[in-house]
């Protein structure tokens, strides 16, 4: 299995990629592209229970736990949100529960996407990050219980 790079290293790569863009349009063009490239979630996972529901767009997310690491898959009906979730997956999928729980995800601010963490766009990044950390916490606790 391919080694997952540490979170900080992937974040650094993303920040460097965004440093190439000097306009909002370019940044969003890139995010839209990421959204288009993210593999769609299998229809069987697009269930209400997998929805992270906000007031505007819908995000579906599923998590798996293998060999001490958490893997995420997600989809959205809005393409920019899908691009954002694709970046989160790139950073967090394949990491250990502890690493996911602890990371402040500094790259979001560094690439100028903090506005997506605002309350009005809570269906954007904020609830996705929360949900991913919740999954990580759940797997961690389950692990501890099972020894």
């Amino acid at each position: 299995m391919e080694e997952t790079k540490p979170i900080a290293e992937i974040e650094k790569e993303i920040v460097e990629e965004f440093a190439l863009f000097d306009s909002w349009d370019d940044k969003y063009e890139y995010i839209i592209d990421l959204g288009k490239k993210l593999a769609p979630l299998a229809q069987e996972h697009k269930l209400d229970e997998n929805k992270i529901k906000g007031c505007q767009s819908t995000v579906w997310m599923v998590a798996n736990y293998r060999d001490g690491r958490v893997f995420f898959e997600a989809d959205s009906d809005a393409i920019i949100v899908k691009g954002l979730v694709s970046m989160l997956i790139r950073v967090l999928s394949g990491q250990t529960p502890d690493a996911i729980i602890e990371t402040p995800l500094a790259f979001i601010q560094q690439i100028g996407m903090t506005s997506h963490l605002a309350q009005t766009r809570s269906n954007g990044l904020l609830s996705m990050v929360k949900q991913m950390k919740n999954y990580a916490l759940a797997y961690k606790l389950k692990n501890e219980v099972n020894g």
Partner: protein, 413 residues
Amino acid sequence: MITETTIPSLDIAAIRRQFPVLQREVKGHPLVYLDNAATSQKPKVVIDALVDYYSGYNANIHRGIHTLAEEATAAFEATRDTVARFINAASREQIIFTRGTTESINLVAQTWGRQQVNKGDEIIISGMEHHSNIVPWQLLCLEKEAVLKVIPVLDNGELDMDAYKALLSPRTKIVSIVHVSNALGTVNPVKEIIDAAHRQGAVVMIDGAQSSVHLDIDVQVLDCDFFAMSAHKVYGPTGIGVLYGKKELLDAMPVFQGGGEMIKEVSFEGTTFNELPYKYEAGTPNIADTVAFKAALDFVTETGKDRMRQHEDQLLAYATDKLQQLPGLRIIGQAAEKISLVSFIIDGIHPQDIGILLDTQGIAVRTGHHCAQPLMHRFGIPGTVRASFAVYNTMEELDRLIAGLQRAIKLLA
């Protein structure tokens, strides 16, 4: 021979200069504010009125005998007179200050509604209501075991008036209807709705949140029993609005909230209530915003609602024409009579994506369900993009909207 009456047109550039926020930039572009149905921007006279009040004569009203209290009371009550004229109420006592349309509707549901609506009675609303004109009635129906009936919306965004007439029955207690839809722009035939309800003995409440800034409102001609509006959609401050009611209804209704201002005499054995309008205005009101509300209404009256409407209708016609030429764009709400607002979707593109990309170009629109989820459901869409216009918007701004949309479509498609 010239028989047309032409309304002199407005100097829009001069009007724009009265709105400080319109001078700002967003994300490196001059702001294009097209979210006026959510809240309009404020002219300098309104902002000045707030500052003048706090710097010149801030005092609690009605009780003090000192000069400041007298000045504050006079300014506060002058707004009541101005509102009464603005909607042509028969008397100033029929103007109750509330926090806005939402509170006005809740006030009626919880006072008149609790007193008059009983088990099995019927309340009629429509399928294009704002949540503010749905939930208060749902709560009342739940409490009273009354029945909520909904007038269907036709494909073009107009109400199904035949269905409405069929819904009316001797059990109908109240019909509460939006005058102008915030999501579609439809102007509803409220006069016809009111007359039909009255023939059945039902009272009618009109949600005037959107209509009050665009249409001439005459509550006596309409003959509505209640009318609600919010100052912030009429170039005024947030946190202040109006409930108009017919006098005999307001007199007979039980009080809403208890506290200061609304009482005549209080003892532990019992309390007698103040007369109209104070009976419904418990506690220290929102004095500053009420005072500034007058400046907003004066701005509208002096600018001239007919001239504003003429300009806004031109914006609507231009926007509708240009938007329809964009590939895959569908306008939701094509009623014969509309105010200056266009709600639309673009095939295969989520409204939120469009909103985010327009924002990067300094263009503010609203995306989403516009607090009218049942209506979005009716059209089978998650939401729309809504561009809503005010007197200060220009054709050049609409061109920027169209260019912004073309860019967004190119990126997203």
